[in-house]
């Protein structure tokens, strides 16, 4: 966590969930300052909201792999 945390909007679902797990584990096991704890908590909440948004807005992407190896979208 020494490195600057990534912008939440750029996290994909798996990354978001992984960071959420990390935040909870840190809150549980590594005592730190109140301000830092609150910052982590707020980030955790924002990550969950981001995940919810990802789930709600997910649209199945379907593409077709052509014989020449190119990909083309499929209209449903």
């Amino acid at each position: 966590m020494a490195k600057k945390p990534a912008s939440i909007g750029n996290l994909n679902y798996e990354q978001a969930l992984a960071e959420l797990e990390e935040i909870i584990s840190k809150l549980e096991n590594e005592p730190s300052g109140l301000e830092r704890s609150v910052t982590m908590f707020e980030r955790g909440k924002a990550i969950i909201q981001h995940c919810q948004k990802l789930l709600d807005s997910a649209e199945l992407k379907v593409r077709q792999l052509e014989e020449n190896g190119s990909m083309s979208p499929i209209e449903e």
Binding site: L20, I24, L27, S37, K45, A58, L60, L65
Partner: protein, 409 residues
């Protein structure tokens, strides 16, 4: 011509007897009891009775066939006029029409028997190589991001899979690697489609399948090259070919087998509603963890506050005052105790003094004798004959003379 004179030398049958005799003859022939016959269905008739009647024919011949209702109900698959079939049953005679018939208890599309033989042989061979072993099967990732599909781009199977994925797990990205799934070209196309997916897309899981059809329609999925390609796939494979009851060698080689294409998609991905529920659980967990953190900080604060209170002058003054109060109380107690003790001693002494008073003794009949000088006489040596003495009793004095002195023997 017949010689009528010899007519009594012959046994004469009734028509019924004749037909019964022939029926018994046919029914007792081992070859005819349990026989497979191939031909084309014609004159198919399904009356309300539930029995099925048809004629089985080839270019030169035909035979009447009957399927009794009990068998008709359980015979799988529709069959129709002009269809080439293989039927199983026994030969007997319809005595009413003098006609022998094939009584059918099993029917399948022509060629299925041969296909089935091939199927069993190939299955045995591949099983011996260990291709179907359980320990070769890989786990399916719980939330696959990239999903490869190998099926026909125009088939119902693709629509079934996509619809299911859309509803259950729309976060996935799907790549269709198209292949025709029936016909001569199908096996090669399926193998190439699998290879392309593995090489170019590296999906987390590959779904392969097609909808229901005849055994021949599904045959591509029993092709040796297809089965080997499925077993060798880099990504784990879930297969669903045909219906619940259809099993292909691809199903055996796949890491998971589903009964239908829809089932394949269900097996491949979790339900987004479950994930949303799990996310709510995460929310609760985060909340609770934060509350724990705050509780810890709060109790540390309280502890420090207590320690600070101890150090404050006000608290110390209170402490001193309390100590003072304690001392004062103790002092009062000790003083009281002292006087109580003295009072008791005094009362005790008083009792003793009373008992020592000579008057108290005189009251009990004793007497006190003094000479005229007031000395108490305690021995005969203090007195002489005719000496005046005073005898004190409880209520007065008696003056007396000593008239005799006797020493105690």
């Amino acid at each position: 011509m017949l010689d009528y004179s010899s007519e009594f030398a012959y046994q004469i049958y009734s028509v019924s007897d004749l037909n019964a005799y022939i029926r018994a003859l046919l029914e007792s022939n081992e070859n005819l009891m349990d026989i497979w016959v191939t031909g084309e269905v014609s004159n198919l008739s399904k009356p309300r009775s539930g029995h099925i009647y048809f004629t089985l024919k080839d270019e030169d011949a035909s035979v009447r066939c009957v399927i009794w209702r009990v068998h008709a109900n359980r015979l799988a698959g529709a069959f129709y006029d002009g269809m080439r079939v293989e039927v199983h049953g026994y030969i007997s005679v319809y005595e009413g029409g003098g006609q022998y018939q094939l009584y059918v208890d099993g029917i399948r599309a022509a060629g299925e028997g041969r296909l089935y033989q091939e199927f069993l042989l190939l299955k045995e061979k591949l099983a011996a190589e260990g291709i179907f072993e359980e320990n070769r099967k890989r786990p399916i990732p719980s939330q696959p991001k990239f999903i490869g599909i190998v099926t026909s781009p125009t088939g119902a199977a693709l629509q079934d899979m996509l619809n299911t994925l859309l509803v259950r797990f729309p976060m996935a990205e799907v790549v269709l690697s198209p292949a025709s799934v029936q016909g001569e070209a199908a096996p090669t196309q399926i193998v190439k489609a699998l290879e392309r997916l593995n090489k170019l897309v590296h999906p987390d899981v590959i779904l392969i399948g097609r909808g229901g059809g005849s055994l021949e329609d599904l045959w591509a999925f029993n092709d040796e090259q297809v089965v080997r390609a499925v077993a060798a796939s880099e990504a784990p494979v879930i297969s669903g070919v045909g219906h619940e009851t259809d099993f292909t060698l691809t199903d055996f080689a796949a890491d998971q087998r589903a009964p239908t294409p829809t089932g394949v998609a269900v097996m491949a991905v979790p339900d987004i509603n479950d994930i949303k529920t799990a996310l709510s659980a995460w929310y609760l967990l985060l909340d609770r963890t934060m509350n724990n953190v705050l509780d810890q900080k709060r109790s540390k604060l309280i502890e420090r506050k207590n320690r600070l209170d101890i150090l404050s002058p006000g608290w110390q003054i209170k402490q001193c005052m309390q100590r003072l109060d304690n001392s004062s109380l103790r002092m009062d107690y000790l003083v009281n105790q002292y006087f109580l003790q003295k009072r008791q001693q005094l009362e005790l002494a008083e009792g003793k003094i009373i008992s020592f008073n000579p008057r108290y003794v005189l009251g009990r009949g004793y007497a006190l004798v003094e000479d005229k000088n007031g000395s108490v006489i305690t021995t005969i040596k203090q007195v002489q004959l005719d000496q005046d003495i005073s005898v004190y009793v409880s209520d007065g004095t008696i003056s007396a003379d000593v008239t005799e002195i006797k020493e105690k023997e």
